[in-house]
Every structure is written in C-alpha cells, then in structure tokens.
C-alpha cells in the first residue's frame, strides 16, 4: 500500500499537512522580516536564509483565517519546488506522520466548484482530520504574482 510522509502543523486549531518531499527545513520565526511594498496582505516579506532571499507567506492570511491567538511557537517551513524556495508561516509544527494514500479523501470531488483550492485532500489519523495542502497548486498561485527574484534585492 502506498503511503507518504507529511509534516503536520497547526493554523489556529486545525491541523494541516504538507508532503515532506517539498519541505526543506523548519525554522524559528525570525525576529525581523523585510517587508515589501505593494504586496498582498498574506505576503509578509522576505528573509535571508544562508544567503538566499526567500519570500514569506502567512498561510492564515492566505486562507482568510482569523488569528485567534498569537502563537509563541510560530515557525517557518521552507518549501522547495525545483530549487524555488518559499517560506510559509504556521502555528507550531506537531509531528511527522505517515498517511496511506487510500485513506485520503479527495476534497475536489466534494466541492469541485471551488477554484483556487489548495487542498489536495483530507487525511485521517484515528479521530483527527488533517487538511493536506496541494503544495504545487499553492506555489503556482503564489508565483502567479510573478516574483522576480532577481529584482528583489
């Protein structure tokens, strides 16, 4: 049976999962971000990780979730798509789990009308539901704003 490893993290009370294959690193939230002008609200700015400038996306803002409580354990997950790096802000990483593919419920079949939906499906671990993100879709969507990495300096 095929299964994949997911990094599980929280946004408010909900748990989300990202395929570990897309993850490069988890970091503490840096004290300082460099903000960018004329950007959507969910673009927090850019950071410098070991000489590379990486855009930072606040997933809660991106998903229109209200911040219930400012977590002291906010983290950055650095995602890697073919050497394109993206940092997402999340509320605390819980664990790394193995989810079997056939336990994943496809969301698109339930609410197929919803475009721009980054959800790949919903995984179940006992009673917990993990919202699995389609990282590629997320990436495409975000880079639809056409970050020109070279211009950001």
């Amino acid at each position: 049976m095929k299964s994949k490893l997911y990094i599980v993290f929280r946004l408010n009370e909900e748990e989300y999962g990202i395929e570990i294959a897309y993850a490069q690193e988890i970091l503490r939230m840096p004290d300082h971000l460099t903000h960018l002008p004329n950007m959507p609200a969910y673009v927090e700015g850019v950071i410098n990780i070991r000489g590379k400038v990486i855009p930072v996306i606040d997933l809660k803002k991106r998903f229109d979730l209200k911040t219930i409580e400012e977590s002291t354990e906010r983290r950055l997950i650095i995602l890697n798509f073919n050497n394109t790096l993206l940092a997402v802000v999340i509320d605390d990483v819980s664990e790394i789990v193995n989810i079997e593919e056939d336990t994943i419920q496809n969301v698109n079949s339930i609410i197929s009308q919803l475009g721009q939906n980054c959800l790949a499906g919903i995984g179940r671990i006992e009673q917990r539901l993990i919202l699995l993100l389609d990282v590629l879709k997320l990436n495409t969507e975000i880079f639809a704003y056409q970050f020109e990495m070279e211009e950001i300096k």
Binding site: I7, E25, L27
Partner: protein
C-alpha cells in the same frame, strides 16, 4: 490616844462605822496582850483576830501599847493571804498607864483591783475582736474579765503564774511587757500587754499586775493572706517570665521561618527559570528532530535509519517538553503553599508580638498587686 473612860463610846462608834467603810473593816480591842472585843463588817471575809487571842510582844500593836503612840502597819499578803493595813491606837488609863489598844484592820486593796469589775466589762467589749482583761497578784490570777465576743477565756481566776506567763515576767523584770503572741499560746494570734501595779503608799513595791489580751485573728488572717498572696504572685511572676522568654523565642523562630519561606519562594522561582530553559531546549530539540526527519526523507532509502533516530529525537523532545508544565504546576503549588505558610507565619509573628505586649502588661499589673499585697502585710502588722 484614847482614854479608857471613852472606850464604851468608841465601841458604839465602831459598831456603827463597821458597815460604812467601803471594802470592809475589822475593829478589835486589846487589853494587855489579849483581844477582848472584835467587830467586823459583813464584807470583811477574813478570819483573823479572835477574842481571847494573845498577841506576841513583837507585834506592832504591842509596840503601840508600850510606846503609847498610834502605829500603822502594812501586813503583807504572806501573813493572812490578803494585804492588810492595821492601825493601832493605844488606850490609856486615867493614871496615864497603858491599858491596851484599839486595832483597826482594813484590807489593803489596790484601787485598780477595787474598781476592776466596774471598768473591765465595759473595756473588754470596746475592742473589735473583744478582749480579756485580768489582774494578778504576785502568785496567781485574781480577777479576770472576758469579752462576750470571745468563745474561750484566756485566763481563769486562781490560775497560778508560771514563767511562761507574761505577768510572771513583768513581776520579775519590774517592767511592762507588750508582746505579739502566735497561735501556740492561745490557739489564735494575740497581742498582750501587761503592766506592774505598785502599792499606793510604797511606790517601789509591785503588788499586782494588770494585763490585757487582744485576739488578733483578723490581723493574723490578713497577714497569712498577704503572705499567700505574695507567694502566689511570686509564682505567677516567674511563670510569666518563662512565658515572656518563650514568646521571645517564638518570635525569633517565626522570623527565621519567614526568611526560610522567602528562600523557598526564590528557589521555586529559580526552578521556574530552569523550566523555561528546559522548554527552550525541548523546542530546539524538536526542530532538530523535524529537520533531521526532513533530511532523512530527502535522502530516500538511504536516510531511513536516520529517520528512525530523528523520530526518537522528536519523541524525546516532546517528553522533555511535557515535563515543563508539570514542573510549573509543582512550582505554582509550592508558591501557593508557601504563600499560605507565609501568611500564617506573619499572623503568628503578629500574635507573638501581641503576646509579648500582653505579657508586659501582666507583669506590670502583678508588680502593682505585689506592692498592694506588701501594703496589706504592713497594715496587718499594725492593726
């Protein structure tokens, strides 16, 4: 001197006068050396000078006859049991020779003794606890009067004097004696005074003593009470001193306890700081574990072993992290308990201070009472 011719008139006079003289009298007529006639007043109780009795030449009466002059003689108690005053008047015949004598014997009673039963009853009732007044001659108690307030009389008429008696010593020393007597003499404490009485004519001769015995039961009780009070106060005072000493000890112990409690609070604060540090380490370890897992996943099959280690690291971090709230809960608990203890200890501290103040008040009150008790003792001595 009386003329023999007037003797009959004298007899008549003596018959009449016998019962007029207070204290009694005995008249006698002596012819030569023989008593030929006597007349005694009814109150004259002595059985002396009988008709027909012959007088010795050495007697004063015989001397009076021989010397033809009036002679007075004081007869001491030893002779007839009572003191007598005898006056002898010679009787002269017409030719100037001695015929005999008229003897007048008068009991020689001391004025105090004579009026004893007039004043003594009044006097004995004048004292708060009653009194006993008595008169002694040189050998025994002659008169006594005891107040109605007294259940027992301290002296009895006819009681022989011995060296234990105050009167005996007054006669012996010829000086008044005033003395406090304890219970051993009369069963109750008493004050006694005794004065010598001198003969009215011979001022140097002690003929009697007058004494008074005042029961001092009230004063004695008062004195005992004052003594007991003083003893009790002394005991209380030393108990209070112990109390004060232990209060001081409690006070210093409480102060030490208070500072210990503060130490505990600061220690539990240090524990809290350490637990914050543990939490940080746990989080760091967790990140390390997560990143190790990511690295292992990227390494694919080759990273599988590393993935297991990463998993263990994550578990370890989560376990360490879960101890932090437990520690915090414990330190919170410690703080709460310690604060409660501190509150109680502060109250004890206040209470021990109040106790010290109260002890001081008690001590000063006791001092006042002690002074009063001393006063009481002094008063008991003078009443």
């Amino acid at each position: 001197m009386i003329q023999l011719s007037g003797l009959e008139e004298c007899k008549i006079m003596m018959e009449i006068m016998a019962d007029l003289i207070p204290g009694g009298v005995l008249f006698g007529i002596i012819e030569g050396n023989t008593i030929i006639w006597t007349k005694a007043s009814d109150s004259f109780a002595m059985d002396i000078l009988h008709v027909g009795q012959k007088l010795e030449n050495s007697t004063t009466t015989m001397k009076c006859i021989q010397e033809k002059r009036i002679l007075k003689q004081l007869v001491p108690r030893e002779v007839y049991g009572k003191r007598l005053k005898i006056i002898s008047i010679p009787i002269i015949k017409d030719d100037g020779d001695s015929y005999g004598a008229i003897s007048i014997a008068i009991p020689n009673l001391h004025p105090v003794a004579a009026s004893f039963y007039d004043f003594a009853p009044i006097l004995t009732e004048m004292f708060h606890e009653g009194a006993c007044i008595y008169l002694t001659d040189l050998q025994k108690v002659a008169y006594s009067q005891t107040s109605k307030k007294l259940a027992v009389s301290f002296v009895e008429n006819g009681q022989e004097l011995n060296e234990m008696d105050v009167a005996y010593n007054v006669i012996k020393t010829r000086k008044p004696i005033l003395a406090e007597l304890d219970e051993s003499k009369f069963g109750i404490p008493a004050f006694t005074a005794n004065y010598p009485l001198y003969d009215t004519e011979n001022k140097d001769e002690i003929v009697a003593t007058m004494g008074i015995i005042l029961p001092k039961q009230t004063a004695g009780k008062l004195r005992n009470m004052s003594k007991n009070l003083e003893d009790g106060l002394t005991n209380i005072s030393s108990a209070i001193q112990q109390l004060a000493a232990s209060a001081t000890e409690i006070h210093s112990n409480e102060q030490a306890l208070n500072s210990n409690i503060k130490d505990i609070i600061s220690i539990s604060e240090e524990i809290d700081e350490i637990s914050v540090f543990i939490k940080e380490i746990a989080e760091e370890t967790k990140l390390l574990g997560l990143n190790a897992a990511i690295e292992a996943a990227r390494a694919g099959e080759a990273g599988r072993g590393f993935g297991v280690v990463a998993d263990e690291i994550r578990k370890l971090s989560s376990e360490s992290k879960s101890t932090v709230p437990k520690i915090n809960k414990l330190t919170q608990n410690i703080k709460r308990q310690v604060e409660e203890a501190s509150g109680k200890s502060s109250k004890s501290l206040d209470a021990s201070q109040e106790q010290a103040a109260a002890t001081e008040e008690i001590t000063s009150s006791i001092e006042e009472i002690t002074i009063m008790s001393n006063e009481l003792g002094k008063i008991a001595l003078v009443i």
